[in-house]
Point group: C2
Chain length 302, copies 2
């Protein structure tokens, strides 16, 4: 099944205790699409400036960019961040929205026929506008962030009511619902309409809530996490890519998709930006999925 993502394409500057990289390909749509491209055909709806020179990366992965708008006299979105030695502590150094400030997603007719849609972390009115252009999509998932929960909560809730899967982190789930207990928060959020909620927990893994089941998986145990930027979008790309590839959106498939998303996310953080992701082989991916099975395996008693 075909997959469409709407989100940011950016140049990132990232500092970690292990090094610094400047002007690397970033943004939610980039991380998502590169991850999803391991599984399926994926296309981007986004905007870049005249300074964008990373088209080759998308082409090399067969990622559709017909709806990646180019504004020749504008500059690409730039983001800078710094991580502390404890990589859970992140600081934004700068955010230059540039052409992304006036982003209006424009979908070609071909894009509108995509069977699956991922609404990356952008203003919820824009997300809803895209979703309404694709009333027949079989599965629509959404990501968001604290900025939109604080300033545009009503619009965000309306948008969530129109999607199938919400993919956020635990702090966002609590903030969005105002409920500290995550299980109750998940139940509340599902009562708004989505059939599934995925909670990303960083180094603790991920959890999948549906109306009648709960699934949780720890994170892959990595001895060195190099750059966590984009791990969430990479997870979402693996998750949606797997569903698109199999064409199965039943509960068992959703669980497997969480594993594939977790595996892709675990690769992403091993190097800067998309470096490690571009090197992943099918054999490496299969091995990591098999490792996930082992790390939660416990035998029945004799």
């Amino acid at each position: 099944m075909s997959l469409l993502v709407v989100g940011s394409v950016a140049y990132d500057t990232v500092e970690t205790p292990f090094g610094k990289c400047d002007k690397m390909l970033g943004g939610s749509a980039s991380h998502f699409s590169i991850s999803a491209s391991f599984f399926t055909n994926v296309s981007i709806v986004g905007v870049v400036g005249g300074d964008f020179t990373e088209q080759e990366v998308f082409d090399s992965r067969g990622i559709g960019t017909n709806d990646l708008e180019r504004i020749a006299d504008g500059k690409t979105f730039r983001w800078g961040g710094r991580y502390e030695y404890d990589l859970n502590v992140a600081h934004t150094l700068f955010t230059d929205l540039n052409v992304f400030a006036d982003f209006q997603p424009k979908l070609s007719n071909e894009s509108k026929r995509s069977r699956l849609l991922f609404l990356g972390n952008i203003q919820p009115d824009l997300q809803r506008g895209v979703r309404e252009q694709m009333p027949d999509a079989e599965l629509v998932a959404l990501d968001t962030m604290n900025l939109w929960i604080e300033h545009t909560r009503d619009s965000l809730v309306r948008t969530i009511k129109g999607v199938d899967v919400v993919i956020i982190n635990d702090a966002e789930a609590r903030q969005l619902t105002g409920i500290p207990n995550l299980i109750k928060a998940a139940r509340e959020l599902l009562s708004w309409g989505p059939k599934a909620l995925i909670i990303k927990r960083g180094e603790y893994g991920a959890a999948l809530f549906t109306h009648d089941s709960y699934f949780a998986i720890p994170a892959y145990p990595l001895e060195s996490v190099f750059d966590p930027t984009g791990a969430g979008d990479t997870f979402a790309g693996g998750f949606m890519g797997y569903l698109a590839k199999t064409g199965d959106i039943g509960d068992a498939s959703l669980r497997r998709a969480v594993i594939y998303g977790s595996a892709m996310g675990s690769f992403a953080v091993e190097k800067f930006s998309i470096e490690r992701l571009l090197e992943v082989t099918p054999a490496q991916l299969s091995a990591r999925v098999a490792d996930f099975r082992k790390l939660v395996a416990f035998e029945e008693e004799l």
Copy 2:
């Protein structure tokens, strides 16, 4: 196999947004032994004052208290704490060590013959003193806290070198080793001597590290957590109790023990103090262990 625990027996005063309880049975040895008593014979080494009136609770669970010293003219250790609406945020209101201030563990010859030993969270010199009185114990596990890591680190490291299993939370593992990455921290800690390390992660579950394997399990999804006090000791009691019952300390058994510990811990937080734990039936415990299997289950691809 027989099991011995050395630790505190206390009266707790706990405030949560859901209520307040005063002078309830608490302390690491209490939570541990009541949990372990579901699986095996367990005895306490500890101290109480002349005001202690909870002997009946221990008797009703068949918990050995020959080495629970009574100081008639002293007062039992008292602790008071308050949890915020987000139960991860805890505040200590008071700590009256009372008879616990001068606690010197005294082991009867019968206690010294116990096959398994749990060193609850007390001063590491005292832990090591107990451990050295039981050179032939088959499995010795230890808990600790930030206080001892800060003020008596050298003694604590010496004590850890003499035990088989360390059971701590993730912040303690990072603080103890000075390594932010938990996987690296675990490897460092295991290099000191223990054959296994269990990291308690509260609402995120628990992880088991050995020299050649890694196992992780999410927490049981609870919609209402009432009182988290003692959950870690209850976990340890289930873990050690299961090992004592089965007499098997191999890797597969350790994994199952983590599940039983997690199940007991999940019951403990459903009511104040030990209330819920005393009500648990074998059928409820079996059902919860089966639930753990379901919540991490994902089918192979077709």
